[in-house]
């Protein structure tokens, strides 16, 4: 690990004025610093900031402090009752030890698990812009099939963020100049394009202070994660689904996908196929057609295209059963 200066912030305003890389749970940043994939000169410890609360908002939703741990969020009674898809996604991620450290803000900003990104002897446009992409034409079993570019085909590894995408969450931030803003999660992560090293719309030194969830819309909520092991493995494909039935028809559906793209994926065209329709295998297949119309495999990850279809069909069947 490269040497760095360490500073501890007591308040959010202090954290943004110290100028340095924020460290929260440290479970992603330190992992990458040990490998010198990340080499910050200065770390600003934000773990003492008062951002550990989950509060009810005026509009009937929840405001989750950026430092709320993945464990505490998954176990929160209101989340379990009103946003079960989020509890399920969190519980399907990482391990008990990691969830006790991992924070809401850090989880959103965790970096890809692409092997070339992790291995500094290999080319990777995300780690070293302009060096090429080792995964294109290389080992790419875990890589993206949607929204890729010829510069990068990495996926975003978070489970939590997939559920939050289906829940239409938004991210509250504080900038170095003291101003604040609220960014809809759908606009928060970027596709790789020509600059895969830029992963979100955050500015340098911008601090995530909270994540907001709108009032729960109820519905049947499911998080299905398909992976190589039954526990403690990243998603190959995951689906977060919220489906509301009315009189034997799908009133509406909200769907988000993990393991498929550089960001937690949501495509409302898929939801439009389902809206107002009676559930059937043929309908679910049409939804999958909409999801995968532009999907492109890169060799080792070709299997993700049929796997995403089967996972979506299975989740929709479960969500609409008994209708």
């Amino acid at each position: 690990m490269r040497p760095f200066e360490y500073a501890r912030a007591g308040e959010a305003s202090e954290a943004v004025s110290l100028g340095g890389r924020f460290i929260a749970g440290g479970t992603n940043l330190l992992d990458l610093m040990k490998l010198q994939v990340e080499t910050p000169d200065k770390l600003v410890d934000i773990t003492r900031l008062p951002m550990r609360d989950i509060e009810a908002t005026d509009d009937g939703g929840l405001r989750i402090g950026a430092l709320v741990t993945n464990s505490d969020l998954a176990a929160d009674k209101r989340v379990r009752d009103d946003y079960p898809v989020l509890s399920r996604a969190l519980l399907a991620g990482a391990s008990g030890q990691l969830r006790n450290k991992a924070t809401t803000g850090g989880n959103l900003l965790q970096r890809t698990r692409c092997g070339y990104f992790y291995e500094t002897s290999q080319p990777c446009n995300k780690r070293e812009p302009g060096s090429g992409c080792g995964a294109i034409g290389g080992f790419n079993r875990i890589h993206a099939i949607l929204g890729t570019s010829d510069k990068c085909i990495a996926t975003h590894p978070s489970d939590m963020a997939v559920a939050m995408q289906a829940l239409e969450a938004s991210v509250e931030t504080l900038k170095a100049d003291g101003s604040t803003r609220t960014i809809p999660l759908i606009e928060f992560h970027r596709l790789p394009g020509d600059t895969p090293e830029i992963e979100t719309v955050l500015e340098k030194g911008e601090l995530i202070t909270a994540v907001r969830l709108p009032k729960s819309l109820g519905g049947t909520q499911i998080y299905r994660k398909v992976r190589d092991r039954a526990s403690y493995a990243f998603a190959l494909v995951s689906v977060a689904a919220i489906v509301k039935m009315k009189g034997g028809e799908i009133e509406w559906a909200r769907l988000a996908f993990g393991g498929l793209a550089h960001k937690p994926w949501r495509d409302t065209a898929v939801e439009d196929v389902l809206k107002g329709q009676a559930p059937s295998r043929a309908l679910f297949d049409r939804a999958a057609d909409a999801l995968l119309a532009e999907a492109k495999g890169h060799g080792e990850n070709d299997f993700k295209i049929p796997l995403a279809r089967r996972t979506l069909v299975s989740v929709l069947a479960e969500a609409t059963q008994g209708a």
Partner: protein, 170 residues
């Protein structure tokens, strides 16, 4: 200089900010019970309790833990005065080479605390009501601790036994 509270004792130490909590304990304080396996949060051999919650001590910096209550396997019990979890691992032969054992024991103690607090797991059918501690629940909740000797069946038995002892204190 930083001050760390480990197993109820305060220690003053001079560490480079790069020092992980694991290395601070092992290399600076001679607390070598916690093991370094992968050093990347993947194996669980370094598990410690911080303020009662289990974490991977390899993926956190010692300087970040001033004021926290840290417990290592040494703080759970010692020969002659074993913690019920340590005794259960002995009784059930919950190890072969023993390298992952301190992490397994500390993690299992932390895990039982989470169950006592009503936390669900990915194996829980019902999110709302606390889960019965079945073998399936134990395996899911302990998946962050790997055992290269694959002593898993005996580890699960040991934890089941210890869970009963801690539920009905003597």
């Amino acid at each position: 200089m930083i001050t760390l509270t480990i197993n109820g004792e305060e220690h003053r130490l001079d560490v480079d900010p790069r020092t992980s909590l694991l290395d601070a304990c092992r290399d600076h304080l001679g607390l070598t019970g916690s093991k370094k396996g992968c050093d990347h949060g993947q194996c669980g051999a370094c598990t410690m309790l911080v303020n009662g919650r289990r974490i991977n001590s390899c993926l956190t910096l010692a300087v970040m833990h001033e004021g926290d209550e840290i417990t290592t396997v040494e703080g759970l019990g010692e020969p002659g005065n074993l913690h019920p979890m340590q005794a259960a691992f002995l009784e059930h032969d919950g190890f072969q080479c023993g390298y992952c054992t301190p992490g397994q024991v500390v993690s299992a103690v932390g895990m039982l605390g989470e169950v006592a607090d009503g936390w669900p797991s990915n194996a829980s059918k019902d999110l709302q009501n606390g889960a019965e501690l079945s073998g399936e629940e134990i395996r899911e909740r302990m998946s962050g601790n790997l055992c290269r000797c694959s002593a898993y069946p005996n580890i699960v038995d040991a934890i089941e036994t210890a869970a009963k002892t801690t539920k009905e204190p003597a």
